[in-house]
Symmetry: C2
Subunit: 289 residues, 2 copies
Amino acid sequence: MTQKQTYIESWLDETHEGVRYGLEGKVLVEEKSSFQKITIFDSKRYGKSLLLDNCWMTAELQEKHYHECLVHPALCSAEKISKVLIIGGGDGGTAKECLKYKEVEEIHLVEIDNRVIELSKKYLPNIGGQAWRDSRVQITIQDGISWVSNAKDNSYDIILIDGSDPKGPAKGLFNKRFFQNCKRILKRGGVFATQSESPEAFRKIHIDTIKTIRTVFDFADPLYGSVPMYPSGWWSWTFAALDKERYKQPILQRATEINKSCEIWNTRWQKAAFGAMPTFIEKALKNEQ
Amino acid sequence: MTQKQTYIESWLDETHEGVRYGLEGKVLVEEKSSFQKITIFDSKRYGKSLLLDNCWMTAELQEKHYHECLVHPALCSAEKISKVLIIGGGDGGTAKECLKYKEVEEIHLVEIDNRVIELSKKYLPNIGGQAWRDSRVQITIQDGISWVSNAKDNSYDIILIDGSDPKGPAKGLFNKRFFQNCKRILKRGGVFATQSESPEAFRKIHIDTIKTIRTVFDFADPLYGSVPMYPSGWWSWTFAALDKERYKQPILQRATEINKSCEIWNTRWQKAAFGAMPTFIEKALKNEQ
């Protein structure tokens, strides 16, 4: 019985609607920032990991499942990729993937919570990696919503929304006005991308997000993949563009170079991931369900 | 504190290598059969569910994620589908999906553990549904390994392996001799399919299973999908054939009819799911990793 109790005490779970996903390990840091509760957890299975408001965000040995899917379909397909905006992304993983492209000249990383960056740098340095040292990355601690509303028209080639679930500080990253500003500041030939939740665990948010983005952008489609530590493990990212479905057409030269360092993503996988919408989402988007 | 304790006591978890997936609810039945521990659990999120040896097998509101993916790529593509063999599948879900095809004349369901069938019929009647009443289904309580070794050459159009992880009674469903017998008893123009574990949580077993099946069958490929209640949520099924990659070519007339009743599967989704192999598995199959 003693052994069993020790065991139970060493689990940390994210709980969502009668389902929980837990990792075994120990809490290294738990603090309240001005915006949220931040936890750094050392897990046996996936190494050091980050939780915000008790939700798993990333882990050293699972971050590629998320970051590769958000970044490469966008950066492999936009006409130019010299100027990149990242909203959120305080763990640095999205910026690190962007830096793999020599054509990227400037990354504006706009994170609301300085403590997420400080703790990620200290405890999860490999997730951000080069992002914390490369002079192309300019970090601003600011609300991403005000950043996009103040930014100039046609100022970015790439906009990546790397936020958490639509509650707390990330709530405003899912509404129409925010997407309209993203469209306004995106250059023609550019690509917008956002994580768009789970088709299973966040079915309604997922559907509403795609529908809203489609009312703003002329071209927008979700891509489906797997992030085991997120609710249901089944995840999505939605890509949008102004001129055509260009996010479905990776530029071969860029893709060949990037593919070498990827664990999940490649152009075959990407094509499949865009095709993998399940029937129940397809029907819902057509208002048949 | 009292409330917290009640909460903790109402979770049932499957634990695998430092990760756990739990559902909130209550245990209805827990017993030891001659082969395994069987648990029937009433979960808030997915309705009544089945566990074998503490591993989630299926649930009323999640069974389609698994059964549609195992059954339809096979039954939509085989030349004939009059005679079907199911090894395992004691919850009845695989048989139920097969019965949607009018061309199916005979289903041999060979399950090793009678108690799985009895408890599924009693507590999860909707998962098996018509399978427990349709005269086309012939149930035999027997080890599936001995069944395939005793069956006549060229006797089935479809063989579906619907077993659990390769330990306990399901261990022999993953070895070369078993697959060789499946090939022997499969008609030319037929399709063989098996669940082939998670590319993430059971990476080595997944890779070894594909490699072994490929040494036996001339054509074999994995398909990737999502079963949230299984370890990592990222799951696979491997399909094989004797004459060509026919499991990639659904017969349109059959598919159109079946698509109406599916939640996940459709021909677009299937094509994508066959294309969704991540880079780390592709490399491992080429022995590059």
